[in-house]
């Protein structure tokens, strides 16, 4: 198993830049998520690690060895494709044994290894079947089996659950995570589904427009977004952005939003001009004492909680409050914000301002 270091990797396709100088490190045994909207460069990054694309510049280290220009066969990395890419002219057994045959492994050893993998994945009974007639889940398992059968240094997975229906996806996600925990193999997983990334990942890289926006644990990325893009992309409903014009001084613990003083984490960076007050819906509560007020526009009932949409002096805002709390449409209510988890952004750059909350996370971004 292995550590993977991505260093200043860049990929251009003609005039189009798919990935701009990106750097991050995937630790040994990590379940690592590459997250972003489609076209952000996450799949290209994954394919560069596997060797299906060669980077235009930059280095990729696998266990300390520079591999960025090597053909995939010399990298010892397995890849699970979104559409599974099982060899259609072979049965399940042949598909699973194919990577072993290429290494020149003896037939008996191949047999034993395939049987072992089939048992892990629970597909012993379909080994003789052609892959054409398999269900989505079984295809997924065979694709996984083909990846794990030769004990590679790392696994690359390109939206492996994307082709499954929603109900089955959850079960496969659990199976995948369990399989990873059992094998302890370094896994890089591409997805555009932020929930999947949060659920399964040890670490997440969020990419947008060929750039790494943020790199960290799911908690860091959720609680301490480095950019407005990350804050918006992660979480459902996403973070509220209340734009305002003003200034914050270094060391300040409040900001002035249309005449209301709201508390924020102690700022480590002063800024002025067009700023954005970012707060997650669950950190907004309705309280009569609050002097920052908003008018209730709508409410969505979600069982234990409800999402209230409000109109405030700084724009629309969503609050996640207990379902028991009553809110009537048209009513104006007071709001309070949990000040220690608020993030301020510079509207022009979209970057978070450094504060006590996110210090150390944002600094390198």
């Amino acid at each position: 198993m292995a550590q993977i270091i991505i260093k200043n990797v860049r990929k251009e396709f003609g005039d189009f830049t798919a990935v701009k100088e990106s750097s991050f490190t995937i630790e040994d045994g990590e379940f690592f998520m590459l997250l972003g909207p489609s076209g952000c460069g996450k799949t290209t990054t994954l394919r560069m690690i596997a060797g299906l694309e060669l980077p235009t510049s930059g280095e990729i280290y696998l266990d300390g060895e520079e591999i960025s220009q090597r053909p995939p066969s010399q990298r010892d990395i397995a890849f699970v494709f979104q559409m599974f890419a099982l060899y259609p002219h072979m049965n399940v057994y042949k598909n699973l044994s194919y990577p072993l045959v290429s290494q020149g492994m003896a037939r008996a050893a191949v047999r034993a290894k395939v049987d072992e993998v089939a048992q892990i994945l629970g597909i012993e009974n379909i080994l003789k079947k052609p892959v054409g007639g398999l269900s989505g889940g079984d295809r997924q398992r065979v694709a996984l089996g083909r990846a794990i059968v030769r004990d590679p240094k790392a696994f690359m997975m390109d939206e492996p659950l994307g082709a499954l229906d929603a109900e089955f996806r959850e079960r496969m996600a659990e199976e995948l995570r369990a399989l990873h925990d059992r094998m302890g193999a370094t896994t890089v997983y591409v997805t555009h589904d932020q929930l999947e990334a949060m659920q399964m990942g040890d670490k997440i890289v969020v990419m947008n427009n060929a750039v790494v926006e943020q790199f960290g644990t799911p908690q860091e990325i959720y609680d301490k977004p480095a950019t407005m893009f990350v804050a918006d992309f992660i979480g459902s409903p996403s973070m509220n952005f209340l734009p305002f014009e003003g200034a914050v001084a270094e060391g300040a613990q409040t900001v002035d939003l249309t005449g209301n003083s709201l508390s924020v984490p102690r700022q480590k960076q002063g800024a002025s001009g067009k700023l954005v007050f970012g707060v997650r819906p669950e950190h907004v509560s309705l309280s009569d004492s609050g002097n920052y007020r908003g008018e209730v526009l709508a409410s969505e009932y979600l069982g234990t909680t409800q999402i209230i949409t409000l109109d405030t002096a700084n724009g629309e805002l969503k609050a996640r409050v207990p379902a028991s709390q009553t809110a009537t449409v048209g009513e104006t209510v007071g709001l309070s914000f949990q000040g220690d988890v608020v993030t301020l952004f510079d509207a022009a750059t979209g970057r978070a301002l450094r504060s006590e909350l996110n210090e150390g996370i944002v600094a390198h971004g």
Binding site: A50, G51, L52, P71, P72, S73, I77, A78, F79, F81, M83, A85, L86, Y87, P88, H89, Y98, P99, S102, Q103, G132, R146, R150
Partner: protein
Amino acid sequence: MSSFSATAPSARSKWFAGTLVILYALITMIPLAWIMLTGFKSPADAISYPPKVFFEPTLEGYVNLFTTRTRQTDDFLAANPPQTWYEEIVRQYDMVIAGPSKFGERFLNSVIIGFGSTFLSIFLGTLAAYAFSRFKIPLADDLLFFILSTRMMPPIAVAIPIFLMYRQLGLSDTHLGMILLYTAVNISLAVWLLKGFIDEIPREYEEAALIDGYTRFQAFYKVVLPQAATGIASTAIFCLIFAWNEYAFAVLLTSGTAQTAPPFIPTIIGVGGLDWPAVAAGATIFLLPVMIFTVALRKHLLRGITFGAVRK
């Protein structure tokens, strides 16, 4: 392809379609059947009017096709009674068999040149199509158009330059020359058809093979080729049919060693009068290889034609 509505065809339209197919089959098969029957007629039956559908079959045509014969004096004939059944057939006309005809050789030439050029077209065509399909080639579209443009005029339009060129190069009347020529004509068809087939094969299969530790060529050979088998088979049929039936170049460029069957068969007419049964016998034998080849690959051919239209 023949149904115009989404609902199942009614009994009447099925009956109508069936009748049409049978009629069409009859129309196309009558000349074939006529040729095959004529091969078994005597020369007199072959030219009788009205044409005979029922006749006494004889192998005269086939014997004449495969032999050369000479007329002999009565003394010679009396002194040498016929030894075999085919000599007996020839004796009816006071002739003896002088030796085998050139038909066997010409037929073999057709096989060598037809299958040789088909193999070469498919081999080169598959590699070229794969490259066009998978790699970024500068001016790929222009190159493809250029390849196709070789088909835009009848091949015979370039017959004279080719004739002169071949004479200079010593390729006239050689197997190699004919194989190269037919390959040159067929390769545009092969590249275009096969590119379409290979485009349909998802790249992920090869990428999976690359990841599984195979080289690019192994991935092509072990994963792409089996997937493209249908396309290759149907393309091969088209190439073979062209090379097998080609007449104009064969007449112009071959006369002896490399002469194929199509220009040879008409020359039978000149030997000892209009020997229609022999010509018909030659045509029948000539038809067989392509028929066998097509029937053997017909499953692929059908799937090949609808390939791309039907996605599983």
